[in-house]
C-alpha cells in the first residue's frame, strides 16, 4: 500500500463557454483530511464531481489514480463500488422517507426473498447512527431533523457503503457553531478509523483546525499545496493563495452614523402554519437609517420566521403586530405590498426560495422589480440586459454572460444573483438572511462592502446570521432571539461572543 490514496493529474473540464478546470492536479495521502480551498467558482465542486464520476470518464481530460490504479468512473455507482463517496453541497435526502430508508436508498438490505428486510435495515441503520453520534430513532422521517442532523445522516449513509475516501462539499455551510464542531469531531474520528476525507469549505477557521493538507484552487487552476503538518498555516496564508493577494481585514471599515428610525416592529407575533404554537412571540425592535442591525439566535429561534412573516406574511398564520416605516404604519399583507413599501428579503435558501434556476441571470435579477423595467406591461429588454450587466460587474459575478443559466453558476455566484435581485428593488430596509452562507472570503468582503455602501446611503439593513463574528464585525446593534422571543439587545461595543451566546440560550422553555 502506498502512502498516496488519490492522485488527480492534469484534469481539464470545460462547459460550454466556461473552462471550469484547467490542468488541475491534486495529491491526497492515505488517512488524512485534505481540504480544498478557493473562491466561488474556482472549480472545487466540479473537481469533486469529476472525481466521483458525476461527470463520467471521457467528459474531461486527465488522469485519476485511486489506490494505486488508474480509474475511469462512468458514474456514481462505479466510484462508490471502489469506496469513493461524495456528499454534495446540497443535501440529497428524501424528506418524507425515514432515516433508515434514506441510508439504504439504492442499496437496500434485502432478505432471501428479495424483499426488503426492514428489521435488518433498521438495526444496521441504528448501528451506523451510533457511529456518527446521532441519537435518533432510525424510523424518524428526515423532515423531522434539523440540517445538522441531516448532515450526519448523509455521513452515516456514506459509511454504509464501505467508504475509503469520503468527499464533503461544504458540509458545515448550513450548520451553526455547535453542529459544526460536532461534525468536525466526527471527521477526526473517521480519520482515526483510517477513512480519508476531502473537504471543501469556506470557513477557513475550520480548515486550519482540522486539515492535514490543503490544495488551493484559483480560477480553475491549482495554485498550491500547503502541508499543515509540517508547518503552521494561517488563514491569511490560505487567503493569499485563494485571492492572489493579501486581505488585510475581514470586515471593511465603516463610520457608523445612524440617523432617524426607518423600521419599527411592534408586538409581532406569528403562529406556526400547521401546529398550535407561537414561532415568534411578541417581538418589537427598531432599525435606524444608516444602521446595520443583527439578529442572532440558534437554529429554530424564529429568526427566518420573523423576517418572512414581516415580508408580506410569507410565513405563518394569525400574524399580529404593527409595522412602521419612517413613522408611518404600513400594511404589508402581500409580498408585492412589502416590496412596494421598500422592504426586501434575501432568503437563506437560495435554491428553493431565491432563484429560478432554469432561467438566466438577466431574468433573475429583474424578477422582483420587473415593473421598473416596463412601461404598460411591456418589458424594455435591452435595458434589462444593461441592469443585469451592471450587477454582474458590480457584484463580480463569475459567468460567461448574463444569459447564463443561474442553475449552472457556483453557489457563491448564485448568492450574488440573489443579492443583485434585491438591490435592484432599491429597498429602504434590506433583510439579509444568512447572506454569506457558502460564500468565499473575497466575496464576503465584497458583500460586506455593498452592505456598507447601502447604509451609507441611508438605507437600513437587518442581518440574520449564524456566524457571530460576522455579526460582531458588521452590525451596530445586535438583538438576540431565543425560542421566538427577544432576549436581549446589545450595542456592538458591548457585545462579545460569550454574551451573545448566553442571551441566545437564555430562554429554554418553548413559546406557547
Amino acid at each position: 500500500m502506498s502512502d498516496t490514496i488519490l492522485e488527480m493529474r492534469n484534469i481539464t473540464k470545460t462547459f460550454p463557454g466556461v473552462a471550469a478546470l484547467q490542468d488541475v492536479s491534486i495529491v491526497v495521502r492515505r488517512g488524512e483530511i485534505h481540504a480544498i480551498c478557493g473562491e466561488n467558482g474556482a472549480g472545487k465542486s466540479t473537481l469533486m464531481k469529476v472525481l466521483s464520476g458525476v461527470y463520467p470518464a471521457g467528459s474531461y481530460e486527465g488522469e485519476i489514480i485511486f489506490d494505486g490504479r488508474p480509474v475511469h468512473f462512468r458514474g456514481i455507482r462505479d466510484s462508490e463500488a471502489q469506496g469513493v463517496v461524495i456528499i454534495h453541497q446540497e443535501l440529497a435526502l428524501v424528506p418524507h422517507l425515514s432515516i433508515a430508508e434514506n441510508i439504504f436508498l439504492g442499496n437496500e438490505r434485502c432478505g432471501r426473498t428479495g424483499l426488503i428486510d426492514w428489521n435488518r435495515a433498521n438495526a444496521d441503520a441504528t448501528a451506523l447512527l451510533e457511529s456518527v453520534g446521532l441519537r435518533e430513532n432510525a424510523v424518524t422521517p428526515i423532515v423531522a431533523l434539523g440540517v445538522g442532523k441531516q448532515q450526519l445522516v448523509e455521513i452515516a449513509k456514506a459509511l454504509s457503503k464501505e467508504v475509503k475516501l469520503l468527499i464533503l462539499d461544504e458540509p458545515t455551510a448550513a450548520l451553526n457553531d455547535v453542529d459544526s464542531a460536532h461534525l468536525l469531531d466526527l471527521l477526526r474520528r473517521l480519520r482515526d478509523r483510517g477513512i480519508t476525507c476531502i473537504m471543501i469549505s469556506h470557513k477557513l477557521g475550520e480548515i486550519t483546525a482540522i486539515a492535514d493538507s490543503i490544495t488551493v484552487l484559483r480560477d480553475g487552476r491549482t495554485v498550491e499545496r500547503l502541508d499543515v503538518r509540517s508547518a503552521e498555516v494561517t488563514q491569511d496564508r490560505i487567503i493569499r493563495g485563494m485571492v492572489g493577494r493579501d486581505l488585510h481585514s475581514f470586515y471593511p471599515d465603516r463610520v457608523s452614523s445612524p440617523g432617524e428610525e426607518v423600521l419599527r416592529v411592534e408586538n409581532w407575533t406569528v403562529r406556526h402554519p400547521t401546529q398550535d404554537r407561537r414561532v415568534v412571540d411578541d417581538v418589537s425592535f427598531t432599525v435606524r437609517a444608516g444602521e446595520v442591525v443583527g439578529i442572532a439566535g440558534l437554529m429554530g429561534a424564529g429568526r427566518t420566521e420573523l423576517a418572512m412573516s414581516m415580508f408580506g406574511r410569507s410565513y405563518g398564520r394569525d400574524i399580529t403586530g404593527r409595522l412602521f416605516l419612517r413613522g408611518r404604519e404600513i400594511r404589508a399583507r402581500t409580498v408585492a405590498e412589502a416590496i412596494g413599501n421598500g422592504i426586501a428579503y434575501a432568503t437563506e435558501d437560495r435554491k428553493r426560495y431565491g432563484l429560478n434556476l432554469i432561467d438566466d441571470i438577466r431574468h433573475n435579477v429583474s424578477a422582483a422589480a420587473l415593473r421598473k423595467l416596463a412601461r404598460f406591461g411591456w418589458v424594455h429588454d435591452n435595458e434589462e440586459i444593461r441592469v443585469a450587466e451592471a450587477s454582474r460587474r458590480d457584484m463580480n459575478i463569475k459567468a460567461p454572460s448574463v444569459m447564463a443559466t443561474v442553475g449552472k453558476l457556483s453557489g457563491g455566484n448564485q448568492q450574488k444573483v440573489v443579492l443583485s435581485k434585491w438591490l435592484f428593488t432599491d429597498p429602504e430596509v434590506l433583510i439579509l438572511d444568512e447572506p454569506t452562507r457558502g460564500i468565499d472570503v473575497g466575496a464576503k468582503f465584497e458583500i460586506y462592502t455593498i452592505v456598507n455602501r447601502l447604509v451609507a446611503q441611508g438605507k437600513a439593513v437587518v442581518m440574520i446570521s449564524s456566524e457571530l463574528p460576522e455579526l460582531l464585525g458588521m452590525c451596530d446593534r445586535i438583538y438576540t432571539l431565543a425560542a421566538g422571543r427577544l432576549t436581549g439587545e446589545l450595542p456592538v461595543s458591548e457585545a462579545t461572543q460569550e454574551k451573545l451566546m448566553q442571551l441566545m440560550a437564555k430562554d429554554k422553555e418553548p413559546a406557547r
Binding site: Y60, S314, A336, K421
Partner: protein, 416 residues
Amino acid sequence: MTDVKSSSTGQGPSADQAPARALHTGISDPRTLVMRNLRQSGIFVALVVIVALFAVLTDGVSLSPGNITNIVLQYSYILVLAIGMVIVIIGGHIDLSVGSVVALTGSVSAVLVIQQGHPWWLGVLAALAVGLAVGAWHGFWVAYAGIPAFIVTLAGMLLFRGLTLRVLDNISLSPFPAEYQRIAAGFLNGLLGGQGFDAFTLLIGGVAVAGYAVSGFRTRVARIRYQQPVESFPLFVARVVLVGAVVMYFAWQLAHARGLPIVLIVLAVLVLAYGLLTRRTVFGRQVYAIGGNLPAAMLSGVKVRTVNFWVFVNMGFLSAVAGIIYSSRSNGAQPAAGNMFELDAIAAAFIGGAAVTGGVGTVVGAMVGGLIMAVMSNGMQLMGVDQSMQSVVKGLVLLVAVAFDVYNKRRAGASR
C-alpha cells in the same frame, strides 16, 4: 466556444470597443456551429426532415399548392389551442378540457346562429364569451381554490362535454350561413388582380419576411450595443435568408392555389401577439417565473393567483377561437366535436420543447411541434395509411421528440 467566453468575461470593455468585440463573439468553428445550432434548432431540423420525407413518399403531392392550403385549413385550430396550451404548460399546469370547450363554444354558436337564426357575429361573440367564462371557472379553481389543474380540467372535460350534449340536445346542427363558413374556408385573394396567381398573398409574404429581417437586425444591433454575444453575421444572414425562402415558397404555393386563407391571417396574428406576450411583457415573464420556481416567484412579489387565473382565462379564450374555427370548418356542431384535441395540443407543446415541470417552452416551438404533427397526419392520410398506424406513429414521434430533448439537455450539462 472559447471566443464566446473571452468576449463576455471581459471586465467591462469600454463602449467604443463593443462592436469590434461583439464581432469576435461570432462562432466560426464549423463543428461548434453545427452542434450548437442542432441543439437549439433540432426541432426545426426535424420539421424540415419530416416535410422532405413525406414529399418523397408522396411523390411531391404533400407539397402541392392544394395540399399545403389543406394543411393550413385542417390544423389551424390545433395550432390555436397549442398557443394557449404552451402558456398553461410553461406556468406548470395542464389543461385537459380544451376539446370539450371547443365543442361547447361551437355548439353555443351553432344554436344561436343555425337554430335561432341570429346573425353570424352574434354566434362568434357568444362563443368567445362562453370560452372566457369557462376559462374563468378553471382559473378560479386552480388559482384561488388551489386545486391542481390536472384535476380541475379533467372535471372540466367531463363537465363541458356534458353541457355540449345538453346544448345540442344530442343532435348535430348544420349548416352555417355563408358568412360564418368564410371564417375557416374563406380566402383573401384577387385584391391586386389575378395573373394566374394571387399577387396579394405574395405581397403579404414579402411584408412578413421583411418584418422578420428588420426586427431580427434591430435586436442584433441592440444586443451588440449592450455588449451581448450574438451569432456571427454570416450565420445571421443565412438564417434570415433561409426563413425568407421558406416563407416565400409557402406564399408562392398558396398563391397558386386559392390564395391567402383567412384562418392563416388569424393564426399569424395570434402567434405574433402571443410570441410577444410571452417574451416581452411582465405577464409573460411572470408565467415563466411561476413555472420555473413557484416559491421563488411568490417571494419576488409575483401575484401568483392573478397570473394563474389569467393563464386559464386565456386558454378558455383561445379554446373558443378554436371552437369557432372548427365549427365553421365542419359547417355545424356535433356532440363529439373536438374529441382528443387536448392531446394534440399538449403533444404540440411538448414536441416544441416545453418541459413537463414548467418554466420552459415557447409559442414558436409549439407551432413547429404542431406543424410536425400536422404534416405527419396529412402525409400519412395522403399515403392511405391506416388510422391505427397513424396513431402509433404519432405516439412514437411524441416520445422520441421529448426523449431527444431530454438527452440533449443532459448532454449539455455533463459534456464538455
